[in-house]
């Protein structure tokens, strides 16, 4: 019994060693997809949030439509749509680009909505006090509203970032060789599905744990004393 377990572990270690490069490559692709889509999605999301709060009626209506449609669509559908629709109109995005675009779009709608909520939740008195000392709207936003909204959205933003890492697995469907697809390939060779799925899950957990710790750290650093 004891020997059997040791034997299994040795076999897994051996297979892991054989698969190490494939796993590392997959991990690298997963991290790249996540980073790119979170970055692009957040930048676009900030623009979206600002438009949703401060845009004129027409802009707000358009952005509201975009946000609601994107948020109401399953991410997998966005990924497939991005991959297949752009190619039909002659814009040939590779699976990686198409996938990152879909995830960034999804991320932007969430970040935009989070920022809108945070800005609108700030008391009107904050803007009034800033106006009363003669700040212009730009100054008010930069010094008073934005720093407060940012602190407010940080925890939810970290949550969204973690969601993006998980959503990156969906790109395996359009053939992006990220961590999940690599894992599936490895399993199809050695049939150690339990071990390798578990290991992949562990790697995803590590990434998200890192993001969560980083978020907590930034939260602590920027916390307002009270």
């Amino acid at each position: 019994m004891h020997d059997l377990l040791t034997n299994d572990l040795l076999m897994f270690a051996n297979e892991l060693w054989i698969a190490r490069l494939a796993l590392l490559k997959g991990l690298g692709v997963t991290v790249s997809i996540s980073l790119l889509s979170i970055l692009a999605g957040s930048v676009a999301g900030v623009g979206l949030g600002l438009g949703l709060v401060y845009g004129n009626r027409l802009l707000r209506l358009l952005l509201r439509g975009y946000t609601d449609i994107v948020r109401g669509t399953p991410v997998l559908v966005l990924v497939l749509a991005s991959y297949y629709i752009f190619s039909t109109v002659g814009l040939d995005l590779g699976p990686f680009q198409a996938g990152v675009l879909a995830l960034a779009v999804f991320c932007s709608s969430h970040v935009g909505e989070i920022l809108r909520g945070a800005l609108q939740a700030l008391p009107a008195g904050q803007t009034e006090a800033a106006k009363a000392i003669g700040l212009t709207f730009g100054q008010t936003f930069a010094s008073v509203l934005w720093p407060q909204a940012l602190r407010q959205i940080l925890p939810t933003w970290v949550n969204t970032a973690a969601e993006m890492v998980k959503a990156s697995t969906l790109l395996s469907v359009i053939g992006v060789a990220e961590l999940l697809l690599r894992t599936q390939e490895i399993i199809s060779r050695n049939f150690m599905s339990l071990e390798f799925y578990f290991f992949a899950g562990f790697l995803y957990f590590l990434i998200n744990f890192g993001i969560e710790r980083l978020g907590k750290f930034v939260e602590r650093k920027t916390a307002v004393p009270s």
């Binding site: 008391p123 008195g125 904050q126 009034e128 006090a129 800033a130 106006k131 009363a132 000392i133 003669g134 700040l135 212009t136 709207f137 100054q139 010094s143 008073v144 720093p147 407060q148 602190r151 307002v224 004393p225 009270s226």
Partner: protein, 256 residues
């Protein structure tokens, strides 16, 4: 006679169909301390907020040192001034709010410094020195690096007053600054205002503190249903009110 500091002529303000100010006329000289009293809904806070354009108004004019606030009249047509110009005009007045409205992510000193650095374009060191000076004047020198969340209501309000005064406004507007405070904290804030009044600061105070209005104000305006119901010397007005409404109001307020 010198030019008045503040002139309000036929001020009208509507929220939709509801007319809140129905033609208010008022003149104020440099150094005057005017208390505005009246029951809630009489338009006293709205009037104050029109003076620094926190509220738009639909009719009449407000002049500070002869300069029309908020709107230009060109060939009879009324046009709102540009944002930059309105921001500049807002800095002519300082305002303290009922809810203090300190910026919670900034220390007391940073709250006071913000306008000095951004609006007055002062260097940080100079602004810091000035901010500390004003915090000292309101008795909070030791609290300069505390955040609003670490201060009591009375302390927060004093920081807010320092923030407004540091901008060196022509006129201070106080909007029920003690209404949100615990009774034992009211005194420290009123002390600060009293000291400013004694130094000749021009101020308009919307207040429910009748005793304070009686002691500090050089003139009292009683607002009633969107117009000035009665105005005059507090020593005279509180003792011999001329109108029925003021008699009722004084009876219902805590002043005796």
């Amino acid at each position: 006679m010198t030019k008045p500091l503040l002139e309000i002529q036929g001020l009208r303000k509507q929220y939709g169909a509801v007319e809140v100010l129905k033609g208010v006329d008022c003149t104020m000289r440099q150094g005057e301390v005017i208390a505005i009293i009246g029951s809630s809904g009489s338009g006293k806070t709205t009037m104050l907020r029109c003076i620094n354009m926190l509220e738009e108004f639909q009719g009449g004019r407000i002049l500070i040192d002869g300069d029309a606030i908020g709107y230009d009249e060109i060939a009879g047509a009324r046009r709102r001034k540009g944002e930059k110009e309105i921001a500049r005009q807002r800095a002519l007045t300082g305002m303290a709010f009922q809810q203090f409205n300190l910026f919670p992510h900034m220390s007391a000193a940073q709250n006071v410094m913000l306008g000095l650095v951004k609006v007055k374009k002062m260097g940080r060191d100079e602004a810091r020195a000035l901010a500390e000076g004003w915090l000292d004047r309101v008795g909070l020198a030791a609290r300069a690096d505390h955040y609003p969340g670490q201060l009591s209501g009375g302390q927060q309000q004093r920081v807010a007053i320092a923030r407004a005064i540091a901008m060196n406004p022509r006129l201070m507007l106080f909007d029920e600054v003690t209404s949100a405070l615990d009774p034992e904290l009211v005194g420290e804030v009123l002390q600060v205002i009293k000291a400013l009044a004694a130094e000749g600061m021009s101020m308009l105070l919307v207040t429910h503190e009748m005793r304070f209005a009686y002691e500090v104000a050089s003139r009292v305006i009683f607002m009633n249903k969107g117009v000035i119901g009665e105005e005059g010397d507090p020593k005279e007005m509180f003792v011999r009110p001329q109108t029925e409404r003021l008699v009722e109001f004084l009876k219902s307020s805590s002043f005796q």
